[in-house]
């Protein structure tokens, strides 16, 4: 009897095991990793893949500054190095430069003591803490799932205060879950909630730019159909929001273009996932739609070029024509055989005409191999600018003299 019972169990187990294998075999394929999602079957063996982030910053001695080309009269110097995965930079009231990172999970503070720059890590182990903003002595930090604040941080850099939650009713999706964070002219905190995919019909809660009061109340969506914008700024005069967006991958080497947009009012839809670059309907999600339904791009910035930081220049050091010009950090392509970007561009707005779009600083790409990836800019008091490089873990200073 015991034997018969065991045999019976064995038969059931075998049947179940065979069934389980069949279920696996009959299902459509599981979702691929996010970066490969949306890749057409005929490209399954494409060697293209995201550029791996180095685990450590480059030593100063290995940063080939002389390869960076800027217009005549401008000069590039290495302002700080050894900052793993340096991303967004923001000034404190008392002269501290706060620097975020993404995959390194850190937030840093750089204190300038008479030309000697000291780097302190004020937070670590965070969930892709790309977004930082500063106001009234308080540093705000945006991770994937929450926005927190550190009050009075500049007086407590060696023993940072606790991170108090400002807002945490946010999706936890990791693809495009990291945020840019900035105070608008209305005193509200603006940030992106990216599409949780390369290409998909996102839930209503995703693919937007949103805003919330600094006390965590009054959350609202500002712009829709924005696949992922990790850089924006407001025009110094018109106070309108300008933002860069990364377009989808795997649609081709030369399409779709990334874009620079303006969202002067709440509620505009910028096309994702239905229409890309203002004039290409998505092969899957564009069916039955028209690009005319959506806000057209202000500027097509190039395929896969990855525009990150957007900053209007308001200083007085650079020549007069740079006043109110946009500096656009372009971290550079991976979904393209011949890489583009890896540079700092400028965009000059011309009312009634298309914007003028030019490369400003380039040279981080060496024979199609990057040695650095320029990202975000911030102005110094003297009107020079700092530019972060998350690949080399460095910050450059760009100044001008005639």
């Amino acid at each position: 009897m015991p034997f018969r019972f065991a045999a019976h169990v064995l038969v059931v187990a075998l049947v179940l095991a065979a069934w389980a294998v069949q279920v696996v075999a009959q299902q459509p394929a599981a979702a691929p990793p996010p970066w490969k999602q949306g890749q057409p079957a005929e490209m399954a063996n494409s060697p293209l893949a995201p550029v791996a982030q180095p685990p450590a910053p480059k030593p100063a001695s290995e940063i080939p500054l002389n390869k960076i080309k800027v217009p005549a009269g401008f000069k590039v110097e290495l302002w700080a190095s050894g900052i793993n995965n340096a991303r967004v930079m923001i000034w404190g009231d008392k002269g501290t430069l706060f620097v975020s990172s993404r995959v390194a999970g850190n937030v840093y503070a750089i204190v300038d003591k008479g030309g000697q720059r000291e780097l302190k890590t004020i937070a670590k182990g965070l969930n892709l803490p790309n977004g930082i903003a500063f106001k009234g002595g308080t540093l705000y930090i945006a991770e994937v799932h929450r926005i927190t604040k550190m009050e009075g941080i500049e007086d407590k850099l060696d023993s940072p205060p606790e991170m108090k939650v400002v807002y945490d009713t946010l999706p936890k999706d990791l693809p495009h879950g990291w945020k840019y964070l900035a105070f608008g002219p209305d005193g509200k905190l603006y940030f992106n909630i990216g599409a949780p995919c390369n290409i998909c019909l996102p839930p209503d809660t995703h693919a937007n730019i949103s805003r919330v009061n600094p006390d965590g109340t009054g959350f609202e969506y500002w712009a829709h159909g924005v696949r992922n914008s990790v850089g924006f700024d407001w025009h110094p005069v018109s106070k309108e929001l300008y933002f860069a967006t990364h377009a989808r991958d795997w649609l081709g080497e030369e399409v779709p273009s990334d874009r620079l947009d303006v969202a002067p009012k709440k509620g505009l839809h910028f096309g994702f996932p239905f229409c890309h670059q203002g004039d290409i309907l998505d092969p899957e999600f564009g069916k039955g739609r028209s690009c005319a339904e959506f806000a057209a791009p202000l500027l097509k910035t190039g395929p896969h070029i990855a525009g990150n930081g957007v900053m209007f220049y308001t200083g007085s050091m650079f020549p007069a024509e740079y006043k109110n010009r946009i500096f656009l950090g372009q971290r550079g392509s991976w979904n393209k055989t011949q890489k583009i970007g890896y540079r700092l561009a400028t965009v000059t707005l011309r009312p009634g005409d298309v914007p003028k779009y030019e490369s400003f600083a380039e040279g981080w790409l060496d024979n199609n191999q990057p040695w650095g990836r320029p990202n975000y800019t911030v102005q110094m008091k003297d009107g020079s600018i700092l530019l972060s490089d998350d690949y080399a873990g460095a910050i450059y200073r760009i100044s001008y003299s005639r």
Binding site: A30, P55, Q116, L119
Partner: protein
């Protein structure tokens, strides 16, 4: 320049060998561990090992044995150790492999696109680890950790990938992966 943050100079595998003494007890003198449950480091991509050490030091990856070691390492030590282990030939870790699970494991690996990142023979590259020929118990523990969202990964890719796996899938997958030549 920032004195408090001197970055690693170019990695030196020989210096890494000299510094690897305390690691040898668990991971083997050449990074080929023999104790069940201990991962082999031999032949792992430099970037992968370096990132893991940084994560242990930063507390983003936690392990009662590894954390105290990693907390003492400087950036240069990490670069040297990672370069040393990357240069060591890896040996297979087939102890405990149940060959009857291999076919299922292979199907599951294909179904869930493991090769998209880990490459066709699961040999890894850059920040993505070599899985082929890794220790069975370690693989099971790590994949279960990703499924439970307690094993930290760089950008969430593995945590997402592990969510649909049932425990029997994890076991089959681990037996298959451990059976491969490194």
């Amino acid at each position: 320049m920032a004195a408090a943050a001197l970055p690693a100079s170019a990695a030196d595998p020989e210096a890494g060998r000299r510094k690897s003494g305390p690691c040898a007890g668990c991971h083997g003198p050449d990074g080929n561990a023999t104790t069940p449950g201990m991962p082999s480091l031999a032949g792992q991509p430099t970037m992968y090992t370096h990132w893991q050490l940084i994560k242990f030091r930063d507390g983003r990856r936690k392990d009662p044995q590894m954390t105290p070691f990693a907390e003492k390492l400087g950036d240069e030590d990490m670069a040297d150790l990672a370069a040393f282990y990357a240069a060591q030939p890896a040996r297979a870790r087939t102890a405990g492999v149940d060959r009857t699970k291999i076919d299922d494991g292979k199907r599951i690996a294909e179904f869930y696109h493991c090769t998209s990142c880990h490459r066709a023979q699961l040999t890894g590259h850059e920040q993505i680890p070599r899985l082929a020929g890794q220790d069975l118990g370690y693989l099971v523990k790590l994949i279960r950790g990703f499924k439970d969202k307690t094993a930290s990964d760089l950008d969430g890719t593995m945590t997402m990938a592990a969510q649909p796996l049932r425990d029997e899938d994890i076991l089959a997958l681990a037996h298959y992966i451990a059976s491969l030549s490194p």
